[in-house]
C-alpha cells in the first residue's frame, strides 16, 4: 500500500489494488494514531478493559471468521448474559447508562424498558445501520471489520428484550459490510449461535440483513420501520413509540450499531467498570468509550476510541492539526444536522459530551467532528448543507418539502450575487418556521441547526455578499 505523504491516505492505484484484493474501504485508512492507540502506555496492548469496541483490531485488521472471533473472547459476554435472566441483563445495561450512539444520547437500557410486556407474540430488534449522517463513518468500520461483535451485541439485546427476530437495516452503499455480516450470520447459524435453541437453551433468534437503497430519512427509526415493511420511508407519528407498536405493529427496539457493540464488554467486565471509564479523563459524567473522529482538512483524519472527556481541541490534535497553511474557522460536532461552533477557545475547550455541547448551543450528534477552514465561504457551505437536506426530505410534510427548497433558493441567490436586502430575515424566519414542533419529524429542524448557527456566527459573510450584490446592481442602473 502506498500512502500520500500529504494526508497519509492510500493513493488511487493502491485503492484499486486493495479493492481487487477484497479489502474494505475502512481497511485503507492508516492513521498515525490507530483507533485504539490513545491512552496506552508504551508497549501496552489494548484489551476489552481499555478499548472495549476496538481492542480486537489490534490483533487482526478485520475479524471475519468465527474461530478468530472466539479466540478473542468472542461470545463470552453473550454466554454470561445467558446465565442471567433477561430482566437482570436489561437492568445491567440500564444501570450502565449506555447513551445511544446514533446521536440522540438516550439511555439504551431505559429505552428497552418501554417495551410492551410479553404477550406471547413476536417482538423485534432492529439494528439501525443506515449510517448516512454526513461526516459519520464509524459504523462502517465496526461492520466491515468486526461483524461478529455487532451480532453478539444484538444477541444480548434480543435476549434482554425478548425479541425472537431481528434485522440489520444497513444502507445500500455499504455493500462489503452487508456481505461480511451475511457471511457471519451464515457461520453462526451453522454453529448454533443463531436460529433455534441457541447453545442448547430455549432462546431463539433469527437474524436477517436488510439493505436499503439510499435515503437519509431511513435513519429515523419510524421511517426505517416503514421501509422495512416495504413502504415508502416516511416517518410515523410518535407515540406510539416502536417499543409499543413498531415493525408489523409489534413491540420493536431500534438501536444504533455502535450502541449494540457496547453490550458484550459490559457483560464481560461489569457495570461498575463501564461507569468508571468516565473517570479516566475526569471531565465527563458519561460512561463508556466512544468512537470519536475528525474529518475535513486536517492532516490525519480518522477515528479513535476514547473515553468521554476529550475536548474538541484534543480531537483536532489527534488528527494531526489543520493541514499546512490552513486556519480553523468553525466546526460541526457530530454531523451535518448539528450547529456550527467556532474556533474560539471557549468552544474548542468544550468537552465532547452530550451535555456540554448542548449547553454551548449545539448537539453532540454522532461525535465525529468536521472542521471548516478559513478558506471556506460560509454561504456556499450553508448552501451545500441545505441542498443535501432538501434532496433528502421525504416529502411527507409540507413545511419540510417546500420550506427546504425555499432556503436553498435564497442561499443560491445570495451566493450568486443576486441577494436581496431582506434575505437574511427570510432565512431567519425559515429557521423558526421549520423548527421542532412545526414539522412531522426532526429532519427539517436538523437542517436548520447549521443554518441558524451560520447566521449567528458568520452573519457578516451573508451581509457582505448581499451588500456587494446591491452595490453592483445600483452601479448597473447608474446611467438610468
Amino acid at each position: 500500500m502506498i500512502y500520500n505523504a500529504a494526508n497519509n491516505k492510500a493513493d488511487l492505484a493502491s485503492q484499486i489494488q486493495a479493492r481487487q484484493n477484497g479489502l474494505a474501504p475502512s481497511q485503507l485508512n492508516r492513521q498515525k494514531t490507530p483507533i485504539w492507540g490513545v491512552g496506552l502506555a508504551e508497549g501496552q496492548e489494548p484489551t476489552s478493559l481499555t478499548h472495549p469496541l476496538t481492542w480486537r483490531l489490534f490483533h487482526s485488521d478485520a475479524v471475519l471468521k468465527l474461530a478468530d472471533y472466539l479466540a478473542l473472547k468472542g461470545f463470552e459476554g453473550f454466554k454470561i448474559a445467558l446465565s442471567k435472566t433477561p430482566k437482570e441483563v436489561g437492568e445491567m445495561i440500564k444501570n450502565a447508562n449506555v447513551r445511544g450512539r446514533g446521536g440522540a444520547g438516550f439511555n439504551a437500557g431505559l429505552k428497552w424498558t418501554f417495551m410492551t410486556p410479553p404477550d406471547g407474540g413476536m417482538c423485534y430488534l432492529i439494528c439501525n445501520a443506515d449510517e448516512m449522517e454526513p461526516g459519520t463513518f464509524k459504523d462502517r468500520l465496526l461492520m466491515e471489520r468486526l461483524p461478529f461483535q455487532l451480532i453478539e451485541g444484538m444477541l444480548i439485546t434480543a435476549y434482554a428484550i425478548g425479541a425472537s427476530a431481528g434485522y440489520i437495516f444497513i444502507r445500500g452503499e455499504y455493500i462489503l459490510a452487508a456481505e461480511r455480516l451475511q457471511a457471519a450470520i451464515d457461520e453462526l447459524i451453522a454453529n448454533n449461535l443463531l436460529g433455534d435453541n441457541i447453545l442448547g437453551t430455549d432462546f431463539n433468534f433469527d437474524l436477517h440483513v436488510h439493505t436499503g437503497a439510499g435515503r437519509y430519512i431511513c435513519g429515523e427509526e419510524t421511517a426505517l420501520i416503514n421501509c422495512l415493511e416495504g413502504r415508502r420511508a416516511n416517518p410515523r407519528t410518535k407515540p406510539p413509540f416502536p417499543q409499543v407498536s413498531g415493525a408489523w405493529g409489534r413491540p420493536t427496539v431500534v438501536n444504533n450499531v455502535e450502541t449494540l457493540n457496547n453490550m458484550s464488554a459490559i457483560m464481560l467486565n461489569g457495570v461498575q467498570w463501564y461507569l468508571d471509564l468516565a473517570k479516566i479523563k475526569g471531565k465527563s459524567e458519561t460512561p463508556g468509550t466512544k468512537i470519536m473522529g475528525c474529518s475535513g482538512r486536517v492532516k490525519d483524519a480518522g477515528l479513535w476510541e476514547v473515553p468521554f472527556g476529550y475536548t474538541a481541541r484534543e480531537l483536532i490534535e489527534l488528527a494531526g492539526g489543520m493541514q499546512d497553511g490552513l486556519k480553523l474557522k468553525a466546526w460541526l460536532p457530530g454531523g451535518a444536522s448539528t450547529d456550527f461552533l467556532t474556533a474560539s477557545d471557549e468552544h474548542l475547550d468544550l468537552v465532547m459530551d452530550f451535555d456540554p455541547i448542548m449547553k454551548a448551543g449545539s448537539r453532540l450528534g454522532t461525535c465525529l467532528m468536521m472542521v471548516v477552514d478559513e478558506t471556506q465561504d460560509m454561504v456556499s457551505l450553508s448552501k451545500n448543507l441545505q441542498q443535501f437536506f432538501q434532496r433528502e426530505s421525504c416529502g411527507w410534510c409540507t413545511p419540510c418539502r417546500d420550506g427546504l427548497p425555499w432556503g436553498v433558493k435564497i442561499l443560491d441567490a445570495i451566493d450568486n450575487g443576486q441577494g436581496q436586502a431582506d434575505d437574511i430575515d427570510k432565512l431567519s424566519e425559515l429557521t423558526r418556521d421549520l423548527w421542532i414542533g412545526k414539522t412531522f419529524c426532526a429532519h427539517a429542524p436538523g437542517a436548520m441547526e447549521p443554518l441558524m448557527s451560520a447566521l449567528k456566527y458568520f452573519r457578516h459573510e451573508f451581509e457582505q455578499k448581499i451588500e456587494s450584490a446591491q452595490a453592483s446592481a445600483s452601479d448597473n442602473q447608474g446611467g438610468v
Binding site: 461526516g135 462489503l176 422495512l228 415508502r232
Partner: protein, 169 residues
C-alpha cells in the same frame, strides 16, 4: 359501469422474470412476516439484470407480492438507487455531502463532468457511464469519495479521474 376490484392487474410473471429472479424473491419473502416487505429486495434483485427496472418488472413484482403496482412504484421512485429508466453500464455516484465538499468535491465533480462530457443525471452516448450525486458515503476520512458500481474510492484527485475510469469499460 363495471367496478374493477382487482388491485393488481394479473401479468404472466414467468414470462417477465427469470426462474432465478422468482426463486430469489421467494427466498426474500421468507425473511419477513408479510410478503410486501420484500419489495425493495425484489427491486434490487431485478435491477441487477439490466441496471434498471422497467414497467413490466414492476407489475411482475406487484403480482408476486400481491400488492398494488402503485405501491411498488412508490417504493421504486422513493429510493435513490432504484432506477426506473435506463442507466449506463457503470453508475458513478459522487459524494457531495459536507465532508467531501470540504476536501475538494467541486473540483472532482468538474473533472468527472468534463472527462465524461455529461452532467448529473445523464448517461454517456456510448452507454458506458451514468453520473449521479449521492449523499455521504461514510468514507469521510478519505474525502472526496466516489462509489462506482460496488467500489468505494477516496480520496480521488481530479487528475486521477481518467485513470479510474479506465478500469470500468
Amino acid at each position: 359501469m363495471k367496478i374493477v376490484t382487482d388491485k393488481t392487474p394479473k401479468v404472466d410473471v414467468k414470462s417477465i422474470l427469470s426462474a432465478e429472479e422468482i426463486a430469489g424473491i421467494d427466498e426474500y419473502i421468507h425473511h419477513y412476516p408479510q410478503a410486501r416487505a420484500a419489495v425493495l429486495d425484489a427491486l434490487k434483485l431485478v435491477q441487477k439484470r439490466n441496471g434498471w427496472v422497467n414497467d413490466a418488472q414492476v407489475a411482475a413484482i406487484a403480482n408476486m407480492l400481491d400488492i398494488a403496482v402503485a405501491d411498488v412504484e412508490g417504493v421504486a421512485t422513493f429510493f435513490n438507487r432504484i432506477y426506473r429508466q435506463p442507466v449506463g453500464r457503470h453508475v458513478i455516484l459522487l459524494c457531495d455531502s459536507i465532508a467531501c465538499y470540504l476536501t475538494g468535491y467541486e473540483a472532482l465533480a468538474n473533472a468527472f463532468k468534463q472527462s465524461l462530457g455529461i452532467d448529473y443525471g445523464q448517461t454517456t452516448p456510448d452507454g458506458r457511464f451514468t453520473l449521479l450525486p449521492i449523499c455521504c458515503l461514510g468514507n469521510c476520512d478519505k474525502g472526496p469519495s466516489v462509489l462506482i458500481d460496488e467500489d468505494t474510492y477516496g480520496p480521488v484527485r481530479p487528475e486521477e479521474v481518467a485513470m479510474l475510469l479506465e478500469y470500468y469499460q
